[in-house]
């Protein structure tokens, strides 16, 4: 059914720390590695070794430059995957019922055997979380590694999404965001976790932790003012050269 559940028992999701992400793309690779050989159709690549290569990915890392009013610009690495929205617009537009949101944990999934590849769910998603696989003709998206998190054949420490498990800088956290006492909920509360595009009304489950403000280095060297350059304008030979070159 492509109607959304009125509520879900749990809200499993990710918390992504923009302060600690180093932009290594390990989560992108581990995501592709796990998901290309597990749940559903493989994540195909087209012309992978040619000039115009492209492929299906469920997780991608953008990089943004933030220039504050004062001080140095900051580079923010920005991993982006499905946010498993509570009011997921991708689910309700689906004509076949292939897209659905699970009542038990809130994960948004695609039943690939029902997907006709019309692409409307990708049109409805503001985050670019869904990609139509060009080889299979069906819609692919983050499953929150539904085949890992409940998988009792895996050691317990591996029962979390591949991206979270692999992140070397602990920038990705997985848990139940409906439980205020869960680690992820505490993290969101402590760090001011935010929604992406809140004005779109999608109510994402995944939260992003904003980068912490950079420290400012105070001027502590008493001699520094005496080391200011004395001559601002060049004089002598350099002054003549400067003027001569200006005239040319």
């Amino acid at each position: 059914m492509t109607s959304l559940p009125t509520s879900t028992d749990r809200k499993l999701g990710l918390v992504i720390d923009l302060d600690t992400c180093v932009g290594c793309h390990a989560c992108v690779i581990s995501c592709k590695g796990w998901n290309t050989e597990n749940y559903g159709a493989p994540l195909s690549d087209q012309n992978a070794y040619g000039a115009d290569n492209s492929g299906t990915f469920l997780n991608r890392v953008h990089s943004y430059e933030v220039q504050p009013e004062e001080g140095a610009a900051q580079l923010i690495h920005f991993p982006k995957s499905c946010l498993h929205c509570e009011d997921a617009p991708c689910v309700t537009v689906c004509p076949t019922g292939a897209s659905y949101k699970r009542v038990e944990d809130g994960i948004v999934l695609v039943n690939e055997s029902d997907c006709i590849g019309c692409g409307l769910c990708a049109w409805a998603c503001p985050y670019g979380a869904r990609e139509l696989d060009q080889a299979e003709g069906v819609m692919k998206k983050c499953t929150l590694c539904v085949d890992r998190i409940y998988n009792e054949n895996l050691p317990e420490e591996d029962r979390q999404p591949a991206c979270v498990r692999t992140c070397p800088s602990n920038a990705r956290h997985f848990g139940d965001l409906s439980d205020p006492d869960s680690d992820v909920s505490k993290l969101v509360a402590a760090r001011g976790g935010m929604d992406l595009m809140p004005e779109q009304g999608t109510r994402p489950v995944n939260k992003y932790l904003p980068p912490r403000p950079k420290d400012a280095m105070p001027e502590f060297d008493v001699l520094a003012p005496f080391l200011e350059p004395v001559a601002e304008e060049p004089k002598g030979f350099l002054g003549w050269l400067d003027k001569a070159l200006e005239k040319i």
């Binding site: 492509t2 537009v93 006709i116 049109w123 998603c125 696989d133 992406l196």
Partner: protein, 290 residues
């Protein structure tokens, strides 16, 4: 948005076809026998041809039948129901006119309503998308309905109605462009809200996630041709409404009527190309594009 030819042809011709079916269903012109057959053949060729074209952009067209299941929530599913309903009802109605020479009025009126509903559901597929502010306006369905009725009136030879509807269609189309140009800004979605980084300063896309292209960029980011959009808008408006209005005012002549139809269709095709090519999907913001 990527202006896919299949979708441009689908929306243009199914709009025209169902528009013609509306007029035929209401009994304008009151035709029977072979004349009725020709009118219905034209309407069905456009409506069915458009629907077939729309299946070309499916990744898995062999499963298209499943699109009938989610009419409770999905406009695309509702469109499928309305289209099939309209074609079946109008088929029975046409059979009465062509083979028995009798007009079963209730069937025609029901078919006309379903035909109009098909155009409305098509327009709602686009209108419902908050991700594309230029489409997410209440004037979008008005534009689709008026254009369909105007095209239908033109095809069915309803000169007076066509004149009035073409003027309205031209005005509505113009308003859509004026309102659409402000829609993205008015939606409040920007790179700042997309990344949540707006509080810290100005945000700029520094590096995309991939060196090549991907499905998202191919499907949602299209900035080629936008530089000529003002000229194309004018050309489209002249062909869609201006030329047909002039030709209809002149003394009636079958060649002029044909010319008016051809000009109108060309104008609508250009407008529909712009409808997609100019539409900015908010996901483009993540790539520093629109």
């Amino acid at each position: 948005m990527h202006p896919a030819p299949s979708v441009i042809f689908f929306t243009t011709f199914s709009g025209l076809g169902f528009g013609l079916l509306v007029w035929l269903g209401l009994g304008y012109p009151a035709v029977t026998g072979w004349t009725a057959f020709v009118f219905f053949a034209i309407a069905y060729a456009m409506a069915v041809g458009g629907l077939l074209a729309s299946t070309f952009h499916l990744g898995r067209p062999e499963r298209a039948i499943k699109a009938f299941t989610q009419w409770r929530s999905s406009w695309l599913s509702r469109e499928a129901w309305c289209a099939v309903g309209a074609l079946v009802i109008m088929g029975l109605y046409a059979a009465g006119l062509v083979f028995a020479g009798t007009r079963i009025a209730p069937l025609g009126i029901l078919g006309a309503i379903l035909s109009l509903a098909t155009v409305f559901t098509t327009s709602m597929i686009y209108t419902q998308l908050k991700t594309i502010p230029r489409w997410n306006m209440s004037i979008t369905p008005v534009k689709f309905l008026v254009l369909s009725l105007a095209g239908g009136a033109l095809l069915s030879g309803q000169v007076q109605a066509a004149l009035l509807l073409l003027v309205i269609a031209g005005v509505v189309q113009g308003l859509t462009w004026i309102m659409g140009d402000k829609a993205l800004e008015a939606s409040g979605t920007s790179l700042k809200t997309a990344t949540g980084l707006g509080g810290a300063g100005s945000v700029r896309s520094f590096e995309p996630p991939h060196t090549g292209t991907n499905y998202l960029l191919r499907e949602f980011v299209h900035d080629i041709g936008r530089k000529h959009s003002q000229k194309l808008r004018l050309i489209s408006l002249v062909l869609m409404a201006g030329v047909p209005i002039l030709l209809l005012i002149l003394p009636f002549n079958h060649f002029f009527a044909l010319l008016a139809v051809v000009s109108h269709v060309a104008g609508v095709l250009i407008a529909r190309w712009l409808f997609f090519a100019e539409a900015e999907h908010v996901v483009g913001l993540y790539y520093g594009k629109r």
